[in-house]
């Protein structure tokens, strides 16, 4: 899919672990892991809102569009 998640980059920038993020936004590790690996098919606004609040960033910092040719 051309939309990729940069959650791991943002976590590294904020020096935060996935476990801590999971605890602070109240989403299971399994679900966050799906999001981090880019296997998620959709993301709720409420989830995006919670992540942006905790990581103090914009949705565009977490999600980005990459052309399929560039992925290959």
């Amino acid at each position: 899919m051309p939309i990729i998640t940069n959650l791991d980059v943002m976590l590294a920038k904020r020096k935060m672990s996935l476990t801590e993020l999971s605890e602070r936004i109240g989403i299971t590790m399994a679900n966050l892991s799906i999001l981090k690996k880019g296997k998620a098919k959709a993301i709720r606004f409420s989830t995006l809102d919670a992540i942006c609040k905790v990581l103090e960033c914009q949705p565009g910092d977490i999600l980005s569009f990459v052309k399929e040719e560039d992925i290959k």
Partner: protein, 204 residues
């Protein structure tokens, strides 16, 4: 999870019994077929030479007060000691097709109910199995009847008997075909349900 669905569990148990009975029947069918084909003395082939035929008209010899008497549009078993063995083989083939398709249906039903028992309702596998069952139901409805039709056609061509007119007619059970169509719809619902469930599971 399994205790939540006692009805499905009991159906699963019944299906398991039917499955073993079906296997037993298949085994018996194979044994009897081999005995028939090898002309074993254990099986009396003479008794098997009677086979189901459809007739259009049987003219009765006797007439009452000058009027012609005849039977029409009936079905019965024709016994002829000189009938060729190929008709017996066709019948065995027809029974084999029937039994094989029934076995497949029971097998796939068993798999569907096993998934249901474990609480996995909307998974793609269930839809695929139900679709296969639908194809098997179509097969059961059409194939044995088609074989019977061709046997009757051959009987009508080979056996020429005075006062008797054979007929060959396709006797499809359209109710089964409608059931198969319904199964296709259910299969589609299951496959679509599995897709929606997957999408829902992967929405964070």
């Amino acid at each position: 999870m399994a205790n939540k669905f006692p009805f499905i569990k009991s159906i699963n148990f019944v299906l398991q019994i039917i499955w073993y009975l079906q296997l037993l029947f298949l085994f018996a069918l194979i044994v009897v077929s081999v005995l028939i084909i090898t002309d074993s003395p254990i099986v009396d082939r003479y008794k098997l030479k009677g086979f189901r035929v459809q007739f259009q008209r049987i003219n009765l010899d006797k007439s009452i007060a000058g009027s012609t008497i005849y039977l029409s549009n009936g079905e019965g078993r024709l016994h002829n000691t000189k009938t060729g063995d190929k008709f017996i083989l066709y019948r065995i083939f027809s029974v084999f097709v029937d039994a094989f398709l029934y076995t497949l249906i029971v097998l796939w039903l068993k798999k569907v109910f096993k998934c249901l028992e474990s609480g996995d309702f909307f998974i793609r596998k269930n839809g695929v199995y139900i679709k296969r069952i639908a194809y098997a139901v179509i097969g059961i409805t059409l194939l044995p009847d088609l074989i019977d039709y061709f046997i009757n056609l051959q009987v009508a061509n080979v056996l020429k008997i005075d006062n008797l007119i054979f007929k060959a007619r396709l006797n499809f059970d359209f109710r089964s075909l409608f059931l198969a169509l319904l199964l296709f719809v259910i299969a589609k619902v299951f496959i679509k349900g599995a897709e929606i469930k997957e999408e829902n599971d992967l929405t964070i």
